[in-house]
Symmetry: C2
Subunit: 345 residues, 2 copies
């Protein structure tokens, strides 16, 4: 089995972990390498782990927000398959001094996100941690017609929902000790898994591919390109930038935050030319959310970012941007979980 993910040391590691995998049994329709696994009967399942001081900092978030974000990140993987959420399991590791009060508040926020998505918490695990708080959220849903990463065709258009870089704008503010603008703070603290939006789009457009933007547009487009065996070009000037990021006035930060700022949890979709345009106005009216064409697919491989003049922009490897200051500064990523010096290129 070949695991077709985009570039990055984290994804190299996943490829290593899955070397020499046995063939998938008939009961499994989609195995590793997409946003979620899918069984033949339409069951969709995914898991997302959040680790303190990797995915979140306690000083930057209320405990409820920490739980909310952990669940929203996992639920977003169901959105990325156009699946309907059913049940959630939450495994938690808290330090003894965090129970019961801090832990209670984290789990309360987690349950808010689960219930907001129409799902229910049906189990989990509770353990102590000698170190960071760890939240691992398993989500299970159903999709009659799951939309995979692997269906992008040369000639397809690439679209995104919403505005990108809100979470990145909040992180920039928090890093410098500033108070994030309310819109950016909301995007960072209470991301919305685009479940209803994904299901509506899948019902109204012949979507070729779908992914959620957890690693940042450039990185996630890399996953689409790798899974589909195509090249993707993104026009940076067309990328809808969150107003609080745009307002920062820093061109480099604007480009980096909107292209590589992870954790916006908006959707990126591919469809034949004109297909999304035909439902654009109805979507915007229904959801009050932008829907913007940002690029296209061609024969080839990898992701190319064009600047406003149509020139190819040069960047290093793309990773998921989670916390600043841990990645390398000279690339479009911000954070690769296992970046080694010399890997960026």
């Amino acid at each position: 089995m070949v695991i077709r993910l985009g570039p990055g040391y984290e994804f190299d590691l996943i490829r290593r972990f899955l070397e020499d995998m046995p063939p998938l049994p008939d009961a499994v329709r989609v195995g590793p390498g997409d946003d979620a696994a899918v069984l033949r009967d339409g069951t969709v399942v995914s898991v997302d782990m959040s680790v303190e001081n990797v995915h979140f900092r306690r000083a930057w978030l209320e405990p409820e927000d920490i739980g909310y974000r952990a669940a929203a990140a996992a639920l977003s993987d169901l959105a990325a398959m156009a699946a309907e959420p059913l049940v959630v399991l939450a495994a938690t590791a808290f330090a003894p001094q965090d129970v019961p009060d801090f832990a209670d508040r984290v789990v309360h926020g987690l349950r808010q996100a689960v219930e907001a998505a129409g799902a229910v918490l049906v189990g989990g695990d509770v353990t102590s941690s000698p170190g960071p708080v760890v939240l691992d959220v398993t989500v299970l849903g159903r999709a009659e017609r799951p939309v995979l990463r692997s269906g992008v065709q040369p000639g397809d258009e690439l679209w995104v929902t919403g505005e990108l870089g809100g979470a990145a704008a909040a992180v920039v503010a928090l890093t410098t000790g500033a108070v994030p603008p309310p819109g950016a703070a909301q995007a960072f603290r209470r991301p919305v898994p685009r479940i209803a939006e994904a299901r509506w789009l899948a019902g109204h457009v012949a979507l070729h591919a779908l992914i959620d933007l957890s690693d940042g547009l450039s990185g996630d487009a890399g996953h689409l390109a790798a899974a589909s065996g195509v090249s993707i070009t993104i026009r940076s000037a067309d990328v809808p930038v969150h107003p609080d990021l745009a307002a920062s006035g820093d061109e480099r930060r604007r480009i980096k935050g909107s292209l590589a700022g992870g954790e916006d949890y908006e959707l990126c979709l591919a469809a034949a030319p004109g297909a999304v345009e035909a439902v654009h106005d109805a979507f915007v009216e229904r959801f009050g959310l932008a829907l913007t064409r940002v690029g296209a697919a061609q024969a080839g491989e990898g992701v190319t970012i064009l600047d406003a003049q149509g020139e190819v922009m040069k960047f290093g490897t793309f990773g998921s941007a989670v916390l600043p200051g841990q990645g390398q500064e000279d690339d479009l990523g911000g954070f690769d979980h296992f970046r080694k010096s010399g890997d960026a290129g």
Copy 2:
């Protein structure tokens, strides 16, 4: 919704986390409080988190064993529902210095356990950890007729598979710097989720209830008693003790290890008098595994342990025995994740 688990601070915490839960939707047949959640269509799902220096010590296990045990613990929850494993997802947090070599070996062991159970790894998450290694394993299976914790009837017999305390015997040896006897080492390093055994038993006996022994017999019998609204009496002299624990010659250690030593992952089942006896020989012949009557259920609540003379033995609260030296020494537990001083009673 009332969460009916046995006593212990860890379980009090779970009860707190699940306060004011909305009613379960029709699509969910079994919610929190059993070994796994069950959907109406027979999908069974559970999650189990293993944290370094809580559930395992690197000095005591090969990396492959760490992964194997983490997966076996999760798969054992499917055995406890008499479910057939289908797919597994593994979320991992490793420190940068642990990748790729140590991490590779852990995941290799995890995959061995998954494949030995007839399941397949279909996804997961890979993140870095600033602290301990964390493995969170999600298991998904199917059960036509899941066997719950809540069906014990007054008058039922309580039976266990295998011999108890093997893992505890290994931990005792490792704690004192000794080399564990081979049988105990195998039980500790490569526990066998009793999946085939559970499914055979469920097919041949009208099981009233089933649980796997992850917290130790006394603690897990407490979960059965709480879930079923009955009292359970265990005759300690009837409990089958792993030969390497019996050979240690220490009476207190023998009793504690076999009654409260967690992580044996044997099964504990309840059925009407005579029902298990009728298939006993066929079971032992088929699986080469002991099947032993250890107690009975009556009207009432809680767990009572009788000594060889039929006298009630006095213990403190029961917790899961994982690593020694972290629990309180004057009770039958060994480890409660969040034991507070003064909680033992």
